[in-house]
């Protein structure tokens, strides 16, 4: 972007400045640390100048927002048209309680729903299963049958609201229930919009709610891609997630690399299944973390967009610009929240939210201050939502596209993160792609997590309230408690559904699911028929478990 003569002059001037001005000051007052590094291990210099971005080619590396390679953003005018979707992840207890929380959030100006399911639901067990005991309704809402789903979305018009569902291994079943509930509301499947997470690879790598082995899991995913391309055109069929990889301890560079490597595996699987890349790729979406190193996070979002655009265009030969554009949801970093002095978490969340906005996110969840202690209560959820509303409406951060584009520092970080991520992606390719590199990624993440823990313990990394500025405090009051009796009432509800449905129809529908699973037929239509007959999630997943088998985790630490 600069001519080489000018760069050379700047380089000379900088050398002089370092010698004459900077060195004297540093000699008199040594710097706080011998060196400054981001958590991806990138050295942060004292100062960045045009020299650091001398090789930047504006047209090829940055371009214009809404155009290849999308470094500056996926929409031409970004938030000047519409803010990011403010979407708080919520769900606990029964469908009735979560429905109430959803309606509260919509009343407070939230613009999309994001549903958390309890662990039995996420792992395909009914509430009456032995393995579900103690977990019912704890980390999300308990869904056993379509009857629960009808209550969950009661009085919420599914043609007006978009819904994101954090569901992976049994994503096909929950999507089927959503389609069926919408239909009951009189909304056809081409009118609904939303997202299923549906990202099984990161479950094996970092999140843990897997059910089936990789091959049948990938088949379920590509069946969903194919079905939605025809019948549910506005649905984001997958949310390829770096969030949990980062929460498990990865660095920013690893987060981009492992997520995009997973993305490559899904695209390849769908192409292998005979799908046209430009038919399904525009509906792929991503999900990233917004962590503590403010500028590196902004650079991370920009680098991820540029890498994905290149992968889709150059590696997979996609022709549709919408296939090149990496659209993503962001959540602030849960693992940075402290149980100590929980009010300080509000500030952490605000800076992470600002980084997400400056990085060009399409939607955002801001964490609540009490989440290191319990599920958030209504008051803390409201503060979290208000935090992103301040970022969106009050500080003019949403009024200019990619405001840090052209910053010598941020552009330099963007380039360095891209280079580091590409090295990892190459390594994963060499191992045969993400499904064959799960243990490799787990070892890398574990090493980063342990390094971080040690750096907090030796004081290299400061965490306020944990290893600096500690104080004596009273235990917090008013934490949300999920009623332990809820498990029993949920089981009673399921029993009632099982008694009142047509059990012969359920058996027949489950037999069709089994036949489809054993053959090559798309699984979505028989699963939709089964949920409409009020077959339970556990029954449908049980049939699939019998056909597909279950995944066994390799233990790495």
């Amino acid at each position: 972007m600069f001519d080489s003569e000018k760069i050379a002059q700047i380089g000379e001037a900088k050398a002089k400045w370092q010698e004459n001005t900077l060195a004297k000051v540093v000699k008199k007052n040594p710097e706080r640390q011998p060196e400054f590094k981001t958590d991806s291990g990138i050295t942060m210099n004292t100062l960045y100048t045009p020299e650091d971005v001398a090789d930047l080619d504006y047209a090829n590396d940055l371009g214009f927002p809404g155009e290849y390679p999308f470094t500056r953003g996926v929409q031409p005018n970004m938030y000047r048209g519409r803010h990011w979707t403010m979407r708080q992840y919520a769900g606990f207890g029964t469908a009735e309680q979560t429905n109430e929380r959803f309606r509260y959030l919509l009343d407070q100006g939230q613009t999309g729903l994001s549903c958390a399911f309890d662990l039995p639901t996420q792992i395909g067990y009914d509430s009456d299963d032995d393995l579900s005991q103690g977990e019912i309704g704890k980390v999300g809402v308990a869904i056993d049958t379509m009857a629960d789903m009808e209550i969950l979305f009661n009085s919420i018009p599914l043609d007006k609201v978009s819904t994101s569902m954090t569901i992976n291994a049994p994503a096909a079943v929950l999507l089927a229930m959503y389609i069926a509930v919408a239909e009951k509301q009189g909304v056809s499947s081409d009118k609904i919009s939303g997202t299923i997470q549906n990202d099984i690879l990161k479950e094996y790598i970092a999140r843990g709610t897997y059910i089936f082995p990789p091959a049948p899991s990938m088949r379920l995913i590509t069946d969903i891609f194919a079905y939605c391309a025809e019948k549910v055109p506005n649905w984001n069929t997958i949310s390829i997630s770096g969030y949990h990889i980062r929460e498990a301890g990865s660095s920013a560079a690893q987060e981009i690399a492992f997520t995009l490597a997973d993305g490559v595996a899904y695209v390849q699987a769908a192409i292998n299944a005979g799908l046209d890349v430009d038919k399904f790729a525009p509906r792929l979406s991503f999900f990233f973390n917004s962590h503590m190193n403010f500028f590196e996070e902004i650079a991370k979002f920009r680098a991820a967009r540029r890498i994905w655009a290149k992968i889709m265009k150059e590696r997979f030969g996609a022709k549709n610009p919408r296939s090149w554009a990496l659209r993503f949801h962001t959540q602030t970093a849960g693992s940075t929240l402290t149980a100590q002095q929980p009010n300080v978490n509000i500030m952490r969340v605000a800076f992470q939210a600002l980084a997400a906005a400056l990085g060009g996110t399409q939607s955002l969840h801001t964490n609540s201050k009490d989440e290191a202690l319990a599920l958030p209560n209504e008051e803390s959820v409201l503060i979290a939502l208000r935090t992103q509303q301040v970022v969106g409406y009050e500080i003019n951060a949403a009024d200019v596209v990619d405001p840090l584009g052209g910053s010598y520092y941020v552009e330099s970080l963007t380039n360095q993160l891209e280079a580091k991520a590409m090295e990892y992606i190459q390594k994963i390719d060499d191992l045969g792609g993400a499904p064959n590199a799960i243990e490799y990624m787990q070892r890398e993440i574990q090493a980063s997590a342990y390094r971080y823990q040690k750096s907090v313990e030796n004081g290299e990394t400061i965490v306020i309230g944990v290893n600096k500025f500690q104080m004596k405090e009273e235990p917090p009051k008013g934490l949300l408690k999920v009623d332990p009796a809820l498990g029993e009432s949920q089981k009673a509800k399921l029993k009632k559904v099982k008694e009142s449905r047509d059990n012969a129809a359920v058996e027949a529908a489950l037999a069709r699911v089994k036949a489809a699973a054993e053959g090559n037929e798309n699984l979505m239509p028989p699963i939709i028929e089964a949920v409409k007959a009020y077959a339970s999630l556990g029954e449908i997943c049980g049939v699939l478990r019998n056909v597909f088998g279950e995944y066994r985790q390799q233990i790495i630490f």
Binding site: L131, E135, T338, A449, E457, I555
Partner: protein
Amino acid sequence: MEKKPIRVVVAKPGLDGHDRGAKVVAQALRDAGMEVIYTGLRQTPAQIVEVAIQEDAQVVALSSLSGAHMALFPQVVKGLQAEGLNDVLVLGGGVIPDDDIPGLKEAGVAEIFTPGTDTRDIVKYIEAHFNGGK
């Protein structure tokens, strides 16, 4: 005379998939010279008791971030006691509200380590338990 290393089983009871803390603690205890077995995810209380017997564990360290600790931790203690393993030190960690800690201790969990704990404090706690009084 060389001391035999303390044998620890680190376990994830229930369906929770958050294992960053369990693995970091497992590695820290191993680096401190203990013999550590990590069970992996989704263990029932009965399975954890079984591993503790097989591995001749002196410590069982349980981790849960899903809110199932009140249901699951006491079952592990009971299971160990039913096998006559009354001397096994049972520890807990994870997202555990202060209000729940007295109940867990009453049920036989010796200590609870919550977010922000320094792994060296866990090492010290275990070492003190075995070097003091026994």
